[in-house]
């Protein structure tokens, strides 16, 4: 299968600042990719290039198309939520559905209505009458009702309560996702998405700091918790990162034999959040 997104030397400059610095990327179909990075790392710039919302240097094709040149054609197969609360405030929900249905051939009104039935949003509401969370629910219902091959979500659940966030991710996984589809997602709430991700991309200062699959994460990375007296010994195995918690030392290792570590203390598979912190700190030193 050919890649959904393919980038070679993708670069985005704003004047003298380089937001995205020669990124190479291949995202095959049927993946759920988490794009994770600190604020200002270039996530949004990279997403904008992919969605045809910004010009770029280097090579970038999304489903064989140049996003900057063919945005309209690309949007037949891509849908995105680029930011929270960008639905026009003056529009009625009914009108929003009407215009989306007329402009987007892949939009299913029935599916959208089914998602909306789980919320308090009604057709007669105007967007400006809805709470921030309800606007997010409406926007999510709208994009999930579009039969697209690539779904890009930039902080999709900002402003949503925890009940709806859980519900959203479970319907994303159960009702929406299949082998034909690819989901690219950025969020600060890493803990919530790590169970649904298949791939992980860390981005820092406009470059890719880590690009791996979740299976790989489990195999490569190990977290070790030891008592203070064993810390020196653990340190000699060259951990990526070290932190202290309740008097215990916690180390994170990349490609170190698990056998060897078990002898020193307790081992776990690190969480994405811990791996992220370790990678970012490691990258800085």
């Amino acid at each position: 299968m050919t890649s959904i997104i393919s980038a070679r030397g993708l670069t985005k400059r704003y004047g003298r600042t380089i937001a995205v610095d020669h990124i190479d990327l291949e995202i095959p179909p049927g993946r759920i990719v988490g794009l994770i990075g600190p604020n200002g790392a270039g996530k949004t710039s990279a997403l904008k290039a992919i969605l045809g919302l910004a010009t770029f240097d280097g090579e970038l094709t999304v489903m064989g198309k140049n996003p900057s040149r063919d945005r309209a054609a690309l949007m037949e197969d891509v849908c995105f939520i680029a930011d929270v609360a960008v639905l026009p405030r003056w529009i009625k929900v009914k009108q929003l559905l009407d215009v989306t249905e007329k402009v987007h051939s892949g939009f299913s009104r029935d599916t959208c209505m089914a998602y909306l039935a789980q919320t308090k949003v009604t057709l007669e509401h105007k967007v400006k009458q809805l709470s921030k969370g309800m606007v997010a629910q409406l926007h999510l219902a709208l994009v999930m009702a579009i039969d697209a091959r690539l779904l890009v979500l930039d902080e999709p659940t900002l402003g949503l309560d925890i009940l709806y966030r859980k519900q959203f991710y479970s319907s994303l996984l159960n009702d929406y996702f299949d082998e034909q589809r690819t989901i690219l997602i950025t969020t600060h709430q890493v803990e919530e998405v790590e169970h649904i991700l298949t791939d992980l991309i860390f981005i820092q200062d406009g470059r890719i700091a880590l690009n791996t699959t979740m299976e790989d994460v489990e195999q490569r990375y190990t977290e070790l918790m030891v008592k203070p007296e064993r810390a020196e010994q653990a340190r000699s195995l060259k951990p990526l990162y070290e932190r202290e918690l309740f008097g215990r030392h916690i180390f994170l290792y990349d490609s170190v034999e698990r056998q060897q570590l078990t002898e020193l203390g307790e081992i776990h598979t690190p969480s994405v959040a811990d791996l992220f912190v370790a990678t970012m700190k490691g990258g800085q030193s």
């Binding site: 045809g52 919302l53 309209a72 054609a73 939520i81 680029a82 215009v99 007329k102």
Partner: protein, 315 residues
């Protein structure tokens, strides 16, 4: 095509107040004034004597007189609508590519498979055709209602409205002339529409300022430099824009001939075109060298608007 219509309908929804409510309010004002004047007359004029006399005098006039003046009344009463329409279109275009950048809903609109060209086309067509059409419909409705009220008045004083004016005046002539003049004006003013869309596509804030200030500064510099060179005040951008309005195919003013006023296209201050209201004179403007130049200017402005629209989500 379906997409284009969907986008135009979206423009209508967003601007219902400007495109529908505004002309309805003006129509309401016309009708209210008519009713008020009737009540005033009835209040002060015992037995409606003056009104009766006026109607009787009118009935004595030749048919020709009643027909031409009736037509003038129908066309002339559109004037207030036309001026408000110009304001509505002006502010609509200024906001057309600005408002969604300001409230960031552009990020939603750009997630739909509609190209920037189609989006700009939908906004331009809305200004050119939807807005004038809405106003035109309300004008026709207002005039029908006013004709009914006037007929009832005439009946009430014992005259026959059918022979007096209903059968004499051909309203369709006035209405079609008005519609043609509106549509022709939409084409005639394309350079201005293009400029407003261009400003709307890039203005970081207060598009009104960006729309008005550059031409004003440019014109002042032009006048000043000309004055330094020749010690005379020569044609400037102001003059050009003024002339453009004066030459327009919109029914805007009254010109006086032999002590008698008739409606005129644009303002009868220029002699580039014949200002008498007629289909030929309207077409004459559309197929002129000036129009060709205007279309080229409009194309440049619109291309600029498209360029900015494409980059509107950069930062």
């Amino acid at each position: 095509m379906n997409r284009l219509f969907a986008l135009i309908r979206r423009e209508y929804w967003e601007n219902k107040g400007a495109f529908r409510t505004t002309p309805l309010v003006i129509g309401g004002i016309y009708i209210a004034f008519l009713l008020m004047s009737i009540f005033t007359t009835a209040h002060f004029d015992n037995e409606m004597y003056t009104f009766r006399e006026a109607i009787r005098l009118l009935a004595e006039q030749p048919t020709e007189f009643r027909s031409t003046h009736g037509l003038e009344v129908l066309l002339g009463s559109s004037l207030f609508f036309t001026i408000v329409l110009a304001f509505v279109v002006f502010f609509y275009l200024l906001g057309a590519l600005y408002d969604d950048r300001k409230d960031r809903s552009i990020l939603f609109w750009k997630s739909l498979p509609a190209s920037d060209t189609l989006t700009i086309a939908s906004k331009l067509l809305t200004a050119m055709f939807l807005a004038p059409l809405m106003f035109w419909i309300v004008i026709v409705l207002t005039q029908i209602i006013m004709a009914i009220i006037a007929s009832l008045m005439v009946i009430s004083v014992g005259e026959n409205p059918w022979t007096l004016f209903l059968s004499v005046i051909n309203p369709f002539e006035a209405w079609s002339m008005l519609l043609v003049s509106y549509l022709a004006s939409s084409i005639w003013f394309l350079p201005m529409y293009g400029w407003l869309l261009l400003v709307s596509s890039f203005a970081p804030r207060i598009p009104l300022l960006f729309a008005v200030l550059p031409p004003v500064v440019f014109a002042i510099l032009q006048v000043w430099i000309r004055f330094l060179e020749t010690f005379t005040f020569n044609a400037s951008l102001f003059g050009l824009i003024g002339k453009w309005v004066a030459n327009s195919p919109a029914i805007l003013t009254v010109q006086v001939h032999d002590g008698e006023g008739t409606l005129a296209l644009g303002g009868p201050l220029t002699d580039d075109f014949d200002h008498a209201v007629s289909l030929m004179n309207i077409l004459d403007r559309l197929f002129s060298v000036q129009m060709l130049g205007g279309l080229i200017v409009a194309a440049v402005f619109l291309a600029g608007a498209l360029w900015f629209r494409h980059r509107a989500t950069e930062s």
